[in-house]
């Protein structure tokens, strides 16, 4: 399958606000506009990739991602994942994935207690095995912005050890001269993104869809997304 033949769906919740950004990014890479699916849909046609976008689904009320995690479309997303389908959650999407238990752990409020919007430098973990990152060199570094209030990844020590041992840590924040202190939110083991045990569900806090061209602050996001689309297509 070529990238342009891929069927990509973006789930939209009331309060999602990076859904259009992700749609534009995907269209830029695949030449094809992904389908937006409203949260009230409980079934989905077969697709190659489902994306849970960033934003403030349901106003982030109760806990980020909690209310979205219980909406009908997530049943369909979980079915898709159970069949081995690929799912990518960015920012609020990552929070939704942990809330449904599709990914372990939880995203707590930033250690600094403030919302933080800035570029971060992240590194592709050496040990990761997942189609989402197979197109990127292990250990390579990317500059991608974050924008969140709850990105502080937390999991029990056991879960963290498991993530590490199984090669489920996808990205970690690293130090950089330009972008300041490495970890913007206090995340355990500097985790910026993780994958599920089978490698086919990924959650990440940084926003690749915001780094799609040099004029808009860099194109490392395009690099990341096109690498994962290519791997998923092959």
């Amino acid at each position: 399958m070529s990238m342009s033949a891929m069927r990509v769906v973006i789930a939209v919740f009331p309060g999602s606000n990076c859904d259009r950004d992700m749609m534009v990014a995907m269209e830029q890479l695949t030449g094809r506009r992904p389908q937006l699916v409203w949260h009230k849909e409980s079934t989905l046609d077969p697709v190659d990739l489902i994306i849970i976008p960033g934003g403030f689904s349901f106003g982030d009320y109760l806990r980020c991602g909690a209310l979205a995690g219980r909406s009908p479309v997530m049943d369909a997303v979980m079915d898709h994942a159970a069949r081995g389908g690929a799912v990518l959650g960015v920012c609020n999407g990552f929070q939704v994935l942990t809330e449904t238990g599709m990914l372990p752990g939880v995203l707590l409020r930033n250690a600094g207690l403030n919302y933080v919007c800035r570029d971060t430098r992240i590194k592709v973990a050496e040990t990761i095995t997942s189609p989402f990152t197979s197109g990127l060199a292990a250990g390579s570094e990317l500059t991608i912005p974050v924008a969140h209030n709850e990105g502080n990844y937390f999991a029990s020590d056991d879960d963290l050890a498991k993530l590490e041992d199984n090669g489920q840590i996808a990205f970690t924040y690293i130090e950089s001269d330009i972008h300041g202190p490495a970890n913007p939110n206090g995340a355990a083991r500097d985790i910026a993104g993780i994958v599920s045990a089978n490698g086919r569900v990924m959650g990440m806090m940084p926003h690749p869809e915001r780094a799609m061209s040099p004029a808009l602050g860099g194109s490392d996001g395009a690099l990341l997304l096109s690498a994962c689309l290519e791997a998923l297509a092959s």
């Binding site: 349901f58 106003g59 009320y61 109760l62 209310l67 219980r70 909406s71």
Partner: protein, 82 residues
Amino acid sequence: MQVVVNISLKEGVLDPQGRAIEHSLRGLGFQEVSEVRVGKQITLDIDESDPARLRQRVARMCETLLSNTVIEDYVIDIVEQE
């Protein structure tokens, strides 16, 4: 002494969070739910054994920092130590 402070929105103040939770609970089939309101519960250990003074100090903390008295009410509960 352990003290629990419950902070709730004043009556009449909009509670969008409560509304969203109520909506979601009903969507999940809990039709019997209404009037959901969300408040905060703050637990503190306080090194003060005189109950009157303790209560007075905690009230001061509520007024100066813990609660936003413009829109919130607070209730102080002193938990007896085991």
